[in-house]
Amino acid sequence: MSASLRLYWLFVQLAAIAGGIYGGVLLFDWATG
């Protein structure tokens, strides 16, 4: 696997984590609000 492909997967997963955390906060506020 090339370095650029590894970097691609790193960014995909970091973005997924950030999006998941943001979505979790929104979902929590919606469910408990």
Binding site: M1, V12, Q13, G20, I21, G24, T32
Partner: protein, 217 residues
């Protein structure tokens, strides 16, 4: 045609990885925030059942906590399975530490800043915080270097059959027969072949046949 196949497969993998890992992060966030809500009302609560409930849970928290736990566990298992199957660089090793360190943070925070009229340090929560910090922090000594390798390793260090084997094999073969230009070309061709296998464009059988042709064996 092959490029289209690789592109479509990469898209499917990207969406699947983003959804599962994002779901795990979402579930962990829900558990983290739900735990803080429960600690805000004293650290325990209950709902349902034929009992006289002393402390009801905050609105929506029981459902969101159960959803966060089970959703997170199921999506984590799917994520782990996919990343191992596809031989992609991953954060699997970090999941355990993320769970215990995030919840351990809550114990520390509320041990030193207890809710309501409680003052001073809540030693029960502090002990839990220390235990969680140890359970989540100690593995990081191994996990951080592992993740670093996961995203930076060289071709020769890749795991899983047959990724990583061809380059080292080709280098040895080139050295053995004293080739330079031809050896470099061989290494390059085998690297491309390896990427096609890992992307799913080639089946293991097609890969093995192509590799035999390249090596002339």
């Amino acid at each position: 045609m092959r490029d289209e196949g690789i592109g479509a497969r990469r898209l499917v993998q990207t969406v699947a990885v983003a959804l599962t890992l994002g779901g795990v992060a979402c579930g962990l966030t829900l558990v983290f925030l739900s735990m803080r809500s429960v600690m805000n009302v004293g650290g325990f609560c209950a709902e349902g059942g034929p009992y006289n409930i002393r402390q009801h849970c905050p609105q929506g928290v029981p459902g969101i906590m159960m959803g966060g736990i089970w959703g997170g566990v199921i999506l984590a298992l799917v994520y782990i399975g996919m990343m191992i199957r596809w031989h992609l660089p991953h954060f699997i090793h970090l999941l355990w530490s993320a769970l215990f360190l995030s919840l351990g943070w809550n114990f520390f925070d509320y041990a030193f800043n207890p809710p309501g009229t409680t003052s001073g340090v809540v030693w029960g929560w502090l002990v839990c915080g220390v235990l969680f910090a140890l359970m989540g922090g100690l593995p990081l000594l191994v996990v951080v270097p592992a993740i670093w390798r996961e995203f930076t390793r060289g071709e020769e260090q890749q795991h899983g059959f047959p990724g990583g084997v061809p380059v080292a094999h080709a280098k040895r073969a080139a050295e053995h027969v004293g080739l330079t230009q031809t050896g470099d070309r061989l290494v390059s061709d085998l690297q491309k072949l390896d990427e096609l296998l890992q992307s799913g464009a080639l089946t293991p059988e097609e890969y093995a046949a192509a590799k035999r042709r390249l090596l002339g064996t």
